[in-house]
């Protein structure tokens, strides 16, 4: 059974001035120069390969890490690579103010948990070594158990797909 409470180091994806970067598109997450790669394991090294200030992310990321991102994360093209590159790095969940529509589907279908959190407590998150994210309730907690934010719980179908281990393990009704 897949865990519905995820624990990991928070990465707040901000610019040089500490503000969340909005509208990070799939070309910035996974540059089109590497689109011919079909082995998901190989895609991790190109995560954020075209995002200013974050190109060294693949070297710094550890399995279980949780991303906190701005508005409209994953805008643009339909490339699954932009999800698979994070799965390859073992990213545990992405919490965003909002997501591009296609990106949201791709992540849910691949079993990468996504939570929507319109009000992002950037300052509080940056001070924490670790957070836990509850996919069913949307609660985001500090290591001492304090709830620091409440995201929208994951929708029922999204949880079903996540628990099944991805869309391809499901049979439609």
């Amino acid at each position: 059974m897949k865990p519905t409470v995820i624990r990991g180091r928070p990465w707040v994806i901000t610019d040089g001035e500490g503000r969340l970067i909005d509208d990070i598109d799939t070309d910035q997450i996974y540059h089109n120069a590497y689109l011919a790669v079909t082995d998901p394991a190989e895609m991790g090294r190109y995560a954020f390969s075209n995002l200013e200030g974050w190109t060294d992310f693949p070297r710094r990321a550890r399995p279980g890490d949780i991303l906190f991102v701005g508005e409209n994360f994953g805008a643009g093209s339909s490339r699954q690579h932009a999800v698979d590159c994070f799965l390859a790095l073992g990213i545990g969940a992405i919490v965003g103010r909002s997501f591009g529509a296609i990106y949201k589907r791709n992540a849910i279908n691949s079993g990468l948990p996504l939570l929507e959190l319109p009000e992002m407590p950037v300052g509080a998150l940056r001070e924490l070594e670790e957070v836990t994210v509850d996919l069913e309730t949307g609660e985001i907690r500090a290591p001492d158990g304090r709830v620091i934010a409440r995201a929208r719980p994951m929708p029922r179908v999204a949880l079903e797909i996540y628990r099944a281990g991805g869309l391809l393990k499901l049979t439609p009704r």
Binding site: H31, A36, T38, A75, G76, S78, R105, N106, N109, L168
Partner: protein, 416 residues
Amino acid sequence: MGRTVIEKIFAAHTADEVAPGRVIWLDLDVRSARDFAGANVVKRFREAYPGERVADPERTFFTFDCNAPANTIAYAQNQQICRRFAREQGIRVYDVDSGIGSHVLMEEGIASPGATVVGTDSHLNILGAVGAFGQGMGDVDIAFAFRHGKTWFEVPHTVKIVLRGRYEYPTTAKDLTLFLVGKLGARGALGKAVEIEGEAVEALDMAGRITLCSMATEMGAISAFLPPSESLRAFVEEATGSRDFSYPIADPDAEYTRILEFDVSGLKPMIAAPPRPDNVHEVAELEGERVDTVFVGSCTNGRYEDIRAVAEILKGRRVAKGVVLKVAPATRRVWGRLLKEGWLEVLYDAGAIIAHAACAGCAQGQIGMTGEGEVQLSTGNRNFPGKQGRGPTYLCSPATAAASALFGVITSPERL
């Protein structure tokens, strides 16, 4: 309660209750994959469903357009992986000689009014131009759709946009489109369906409908729908070979989450400056900036009418010294018509490079990339950093592209 266009299309393709926010299982009339991500779809399918067949090969297609013909070994390999799978499964391939997949689906009558279509092209919502629901998806989604012929979908809320007034040439459908992208912004319609109406929409020809619907993606929308028109009816009747034209229309009492109104009378030619499609200005504000490369084509502006508009402006003239003009018709059919009517000769005489029908300037490599500092004007739909090379890209109409190619600097076609 009445239904919006997308709710009507969905209700005809599901047994579930259709209401905004509900997740339904949606029957798909057409499932497709391009050369981009097609090989990934095949790989996922083979891993998840070893030895199994696609749900219906007659409704499943490959369309090669991103890198056509392949100019990297990797793309060539991926195309061949798709062809081999297609032979095994009895799936039709619109190969590298066909053109942009979404346009081919419309021209062939495969994407027809009221249909549900998925594929790996993030601009597949362009099919709203013919009143079809088109949705770009990733390879996991498409592998599932190939196997089961259906998918899950959250019914979106619908935003209505009402346009007041009309504009005059040389303001065109692309200028209207950029105007709306600029007004709404990249997430102005995030996750929503959009219905656009008004006199200016009714006046659009088929190419203009395609231009407007294609950039719903750049507003964050799921899809954009327009009221039917005579130009659409003629296009659909030719494509489907049937006079039985029916079209999904919203009920008068349909519920909209927002209704926006814009006055477009006297709208001027518009341009999107780097680094984003919603960084929109009047062309007049940026006039005089040097231009190195001009690209005319793409799913947004690669129709016959778009390229003929450029040829009409350039007839008997030459592009400015130092400017490279690249033209890529959207499909083989468009290419052939331009050739037979002499428009390609006009473009050749004006100094243009005429490329093969495909995505061209929006896909890496096919008609050349830009180097650092190389300023490009494109009739495409995205100018994100790095998408088409190192140089900055501006998005504009075919008329603005032609005027700027003539003078070597950003030029409003009002000056012609």
